[in-house]
């Protein structure tokens, strides 16, 4: 069943996103350098876009992923479809903006941030696909794992 597959894909993507964002949040608060093959992680993580009113973007991302996971696990039916798609799309647009800043303003690449942007892009596609494909039919919920 297509929806079941998409639902599981969304779950896997969300858990991957949580792992990435949790790592970056830990690195931020521990004040250590992230493991980085692109050489730009520290530059990106300490840039003016790395926090919003003192709240690190990594933590905002982590909270966003947790909200997506919660919407997938705790909600049912249309509420789940709409909430997960809305959260993923916001994440996708925001991470797109941050990736743009990385490429054209900071001119440094943080592989972890790019990985998170890819995860959010895929999540946005999958959750939007589920929303458009379901057409109001019942969907996978908390009892599916």
């Amino acid at each position: 069943m297509l929806d079941r597959r998409l639902y599981r894909t969304a779950l896997v993507l969300t858990i991957a996103g949580i792992a990435i964002a949790a790592y970056l949040t830990y690195v931020h608060y521990a004040g250590i350098e992230p493991a980085c093959s692109t050489g730009g992680c520290e530059v990106v993580q300490t840039s003016e876009w790395a926090d919003v009113y003192g709240l690190p973007v990594a933590l905002i991302g982590l909270l966003g992923y947790i909200a997506i996971l919660a919407s997938l696990l705790a909600l049912r039916g249309d509420a789940q479809l709409f909430a997960s798609a809305a959260l993923s799309l916001v994440g996708f647009l925001y991470s797109g903006y941050l990736t743009y800043q990385e490429l054209f303003t900071i001119k440094a690449i943080c592989q972890w941030c790019v990985a998170s942007a890819v995860v959010l892009t895929l999540l946005a596609i999958v959750t939007l696909w589920r929303l458009l494909a379901s057409g109001g039919k019942p969907v996978e919920g908390a009892d599916v794992g």
Partner: protein, 244 residues
Amino acid sequence: MSTAYTPPNPNKRRNVMIAGLVAVVVVVAAVLILVSSGDNESESAAPAANAPLSGLKETKAMLDGIPQDGNALGKKNAPVTMIEYADYQCPFCRDYSLKTMPILINDYVRSGKLRMEFEPLTFIGPDSETAARAGVAAGQQNLEWNYTHLFFFNQGEERSGYVTNAFIDKLYAGAGVNATKANAYRKTPSAAVPIAEASANAQKYGVASTPSFVVGPTGGPYTKLEVEISNPDAFKAAFDALLK
């Protein structure tokens, strides 16, 4: 929401809901982006960050042509070294730096008789730590003295949270520091090492207030200098005694 499975006109209602969702998503994302890009303006509400940088000319005049090496100012082979223990937030450190120190640098460091080292202490609060790390990072580019002097010129109120990224970026720009490199360095564990060493050394010399000074022949041993910080002649007498 479970009633959505059997609506009277499911397709039409769904389309309206999806359109609503897209609108909400765009608005929320736009707000997030606006808040992000407006971050610096909001931070600059701190008093010192909004004001134009002062002391640019004075800093340049005081330091131009004098070699720097990390936290040290002056020739390596200068016969006498004085180490200053200071907290970036401390107003007395500012007074010493702006009034007494330029005279000492002009009369002793410039002529190669004295070498000065700056050791940051961070007892006043988190802003001191941020400022000190930024100073260590500037020292990686041998511009710690430019950064530190500009910092004291633009010092804000203690513990007011004025040492923001924007504030440091402005000082870096004024000091000629490569901000991208320095900002990356100042958050690494390496940037904390000289601060920990400064604290340990301060304890060793019995430093209980800032600014405090130890002085001696370059390489040591150093002894604590008990002088009135607003009196350059008291410092000069100590240097002259060591230079004899």
